[in-house]
């Protein structure tokens, strides 16, 4: 949206001429009675940083293991560059994986770990040291080349694992919760490092994570999964701003969900009756709705304004009482009780010092938001 006009936007998924690198065609995977992957069709493009996001047990790891070759689909086909992957064993695939536990070989040094894959490839022997050195430089591990994995820190191990999986220059790099074992600060630094390395090498990355912030930070597109199904596949901003379901809206970030009945619709504007004796919510809907159908109105807390005096000229104004305040340093979240006992969260940046905050517990306040701030969801 805000991209400068002279810089092309990276969005191969919108280009019908672009050939996808990976194609999932109606792929299902069942373990006995349990369906881990339920009829997934998905395209992933070259140079993408694609995130599979979902709670544990949603099938995201199974999907990735099928790409690596450790699981085979029960039904459907997976194509890499147009070639069916099914008959190709893991050691012959042009994919490499970075394991959640890193799976570094404890009996080999950092150098030998990185060289391991190269020695099994058809790379000439005399070219291997140069490639290993290159990988060590890329991941800033030159000083640790001779150490064994147990002699380096967690963050360094993570980088060795990354260097080892990138050394063979795979067409596709799979990352299984790559930052799960790092503490928060290191994780954030490493996220940017990962993006940097992905850009430098031009490799296609598929990352599995349950951390929505991580997915939003690193990915070009995010696939939100639940119970083996793809719920929404989109860019991070679309996932956040325009979730297609209550599940996605709820899974990504903080959200207020107001259940109501759709009423009068004029163009893309509609009103939602949500509580007895309260003014209807004015909202915008992408598609036509039948009057009287149940809808969910989802709005992010940071898009809800809070004030002591009734604001003028806002599309939606709701009265309430402050129930709780969460002070997070840079922002504060106000939990406000409105009609029918419903709690609505409003998030405000703390531009002033805490001592000068004019809203406190049990205050009567006014919540307001525009008619385009939220989304109307059917499911």
């Amino acid at each position: 949206m805000a991209q400068p006009a002279n810089r092309p936007v990276f969005a191969p998924w919108n280009d019908p001429k672009e050939k996808p690198l990976i194609q999932f065609q109606n792929v299902s995977k069942r373990f006995g009675e349990f369906t881990a992957i339920d009829n997934i069709t998905l395209d992933i493009f070259r140079r993408e940083f694609f995130a599979l996001l979902g709670p544990s047990g949603c099938g995201k790891t199974t999907l990735m293991r099928m790409l690596a070759g450790f699981e085979t689909p029960t039904e459907g086909k997976i194509l890499l560059d147009g070639v069916d992957l099914a008959p190709i064993p893991p050691n012959k695939r042009e994919t490499n994986m970075m394991f959640q536990s890193y799976a570094l070989f404890p009996h080999l040094s950092v150098w030998e770990n990185i060289a391991f894959g190269l020695k099994r490839s058809d790379m000439p022997k005399d070219k291997i040291p140069a490639r290993v050195e290159e990988m060590l430089r890329l991941t800033r591990l030159e000083k640790f080349a001779k150490r064994k994995p147990h002699q380096i820190s967690g963050g360094q191990r993570q980088r060795v694992a990354l260097a080892r999986s990138l050394a063979k220059a795979p067409k596709l790099l799979l990352l299984d919760e790559p930052l799960g074992a790092l503490d928060k600060k290191l994780r954030q630094d490493t996220q940017f490092e990962l993006m940097d390395i992905q850009e430098k090498t031009g490799t296609t990355f598929v990352i599995v994570t349950h951390d929505q912030e991580e997915a939003m930070t690193v990915a070009s597109r995010v696939a939100v999964m639940d119970h083996g199904k793809m719920i929404q596949v989109d860019t991070p901003d679309k996932i956040y701003e325009m979730p297609n379901s209550v599940y996605v809206a709820d899974f990504i970030g903080d959200v207020n969900i107001v259940e109501g009945k759709a009423a009068a619709q004029a163009g893309d504007k509609l009103t939602i009756n949500w509580a007895e004796g309260q003014p209807a919510i004015n909202a915008t809907s992408a598609g036509p709705l039948t009057a009287g159908s149940t809808v969910h109105f989802a709005i992010r807390p940071e898009k809800v304004a809070i004030a002591r005096d009734k604001p003028e000229g806002r599309a939606n104004v709701i009265a309430g009482k402050v129930h709780d305040i969460a002070y997070l340093g840079n922002i504060s979240t106000y939990k406000v009780r409105v009609a029918g006992g419903l709690m609505i969260k409003a998030q405000v940046a703390n531009e002033r010092r805490l001592s000068r905050r004019d809203i406190t517990w049990e205050d009567d306040v006014w919540l307001s938001f525009t008619d385009t701030a939220g989304v109307v969801l059917l499911k």
Partner: protein, 299 residues
């Protein structure tokens, strides 16, 4: 302030070693330096403390290395040592060969089977060692189960002579010491992270080369521990060669027994025991080193 608790903790193992290893060893060493005598006990000199300092001096003066020179001079003894080393080494190798696949299979088995499999490995210990070795006579003798089965199947016409040969000793040792090899290898393989094998395959290894390059090197501490646990007792083994080996198999444990109980030559027998201990000290030190290295790596 002196810490008595600490002193007690440190002293306990040293006292144990002192009473049950060092003092007996010094007694054996002393006997090995004595001479044979027709008396009770059957050696001389005896330490007479009532004679005071002079008595101790004359006692020490009578000790010599005569028995050790005798051992070096008589080919019977060093062939017995060499033959023991050979038998112990070969049977350790075969034990490893049999034990590794078993341990590997156990480590690969589903979690719920493992306690049962472990039980099966340990189960033979519930029966007397002697009985288990004796029962091999019933299997290996000319009219034993093995020969009867093979002849019934028509594979052989005349019974194989296994009993009272070194083959029977190898079979006996491999059988008796198998659990000591399986358990350390299993414990090394069980700890192995399955994702390491997947990582090796992901990086281009076939299943076979993943085994050679990852599984085997990572189970090496278990293999080394198992080999020592079999080799060390097998070297001094007495029961198996005397029950299954007949007269042709020469092993130092048997020689030692005969020297003590048939010849009643305690000084020579003690010298044999001291030399055996010296031979074993090398592998025991290596074994300790391996254990320590592993502990350090584990930290």
């Amino acid at each position: 302030m002196f810490n008595f608790r600490r002193l007690f903790l440190i002293l306990t193992p040293y006292l144990w070693l002192g009473f049950f290893f060092l003092i007996p060893f010094v007694i054996v060493l002393k006997i090995s330096l004595s001479d044979y005598a027709v008396s009770i006990p059957p050696y001389t000199p005896l330490l007479d403390l009532s004679a005071g300092w002079e008595g101790i001096k004359s006692f020490v003066g009578e000790l010599d290395f005569e028995n050790f020179t005798f051992l070096a001079g008589d080919p019977l003894y060093y062939t017995a040592y060499l033959s023991s080393l050979k038998i112990a080494a070969i049977s350790t190798f075969f034990t490893l060969l049999v034990a590794y696949p078993i341990a590997y299979g156990m480590a690969q088995a589903p979690d719920e089977w493992r306690p049962t499999l472990m039980m099966l490995v340990i189960l033979p210990f519930w029966t007397s060692f002697l009985i288990r070795v004796y029962s091999w006579i019933g299997i290996l003798s000319n009219e034993g189960f093995l020969n009867q089965t093979l002849m019934w199947l028509g594979i052989i016409d005349t019974p194989l002579v296994i009993l009272n040969t070194s083959t029977a000793v190898y079979i006996g040792i491999v059988y008796a010491y198998l659990p000591f090899m399986i358990l350390p290898i299993y414990s090394a393989l069980e700890k192995l992270d399955g994702s390491l094998i997947e990582a090796a395959e992901d990086l281009g290894c076939s299943k076979m080369s993943a085994f050679w390059l990852v599984t085997l090197p990572l189970s090496r501490p278990g293999i080394i521990a198992g080999c020592f646990l079999v080799f060390i007792p097998a070297l001094g083994e007495f029961v198996i060669p005397s029950i299954l080996g007949g007269t042709t198999t020469l092993m130092i444990g048997k020689t030692l027994y005969e020297e003590f109980f048939s010849n009643r030559d305690w000084p020579v027998a003690s010298a044999v025991a001291v030399v055996l201990l010296l031979i074993l000290i090398i592998p025991i030190i290596l074994f300790q080193r391996n254990e320590q290295k592993q502990r350090e790596a584990g930290q």
